[in-house]
Subunit: 116 residues, 2 copies
């Protein structure tokens, strides 16, 4: 069960979830965005292994459990209005299921205005 | 209007929005999480100024318009499944409305298990 002091500050959405920004502690790259409910956050804090709620499979998901690309949690912070988490991790292997380093690698959008 | 090639890849939620992870281009700090609809993304790309959809005020919001703490957009990437954006910006001043550098600064959660 999640620490009541944290639960009190956490503002989940209508599905009981908060988005989690996952950042590599050493490279500082943003790896992915995932979702947690209170139980996933409680498990991540208690075990030091990143644990999410899979919205598509509707189950808890320990990152790397099947792929081996685990995430050791170094820090979790809650934002100013309590509805987003930032988690720093040590990532083993690629973070993305497509085998890219991050879920954003090589996926820049075209057409950005740049000032002269 | 958003470039149809981007619109085709973008998977918004039931409210027509996607979460945007905002990262400082130089310090690599994660500053905040915000939300965009297609129009906010189109405006951010066209103007090079971070523009979001405010869910509480139900209006477009050019970051820094009132505070002066603007965000110049350096890069926008769409993740592997098309439902999250990562935006790198040059941030002027503090990113958070509470005047902290980021919305996560000084807000670490206690109780994280650390391996010996």
């Amino acid at each position: 069960m999640l620490d009541p002091a944290i639960s009190e500050k956490l503002r989940t959405n209508e599905a009981g979830l908060v988005p989690v920004v996952v950042q590599e502690a050493t490279t500082r790259e943003v790896l992915m965005l995932a979702w947690m409910d209170e139980e996933a956050l409680s498990r991540s804090l208690a075990t030091g292994r990143a644990t999410y709620w899979s919205r598509s499979r509707r189950e808890y998901w320990v990152k790397g459990e099947t792929s081996g690309n685990v995430q050791h949690v170094r820090r979790i912070a809650l934002d100013c209005d309590g509805d987003t988490l930032l988690m720093e991790v040590d990532q083993t292997g690629p973070a993305c299921h497509t085998n890219t380093t991050t879920c954003f690698t090589g996926r820049d959008l075209d057409g950005l205005h740049t000032e002269p």
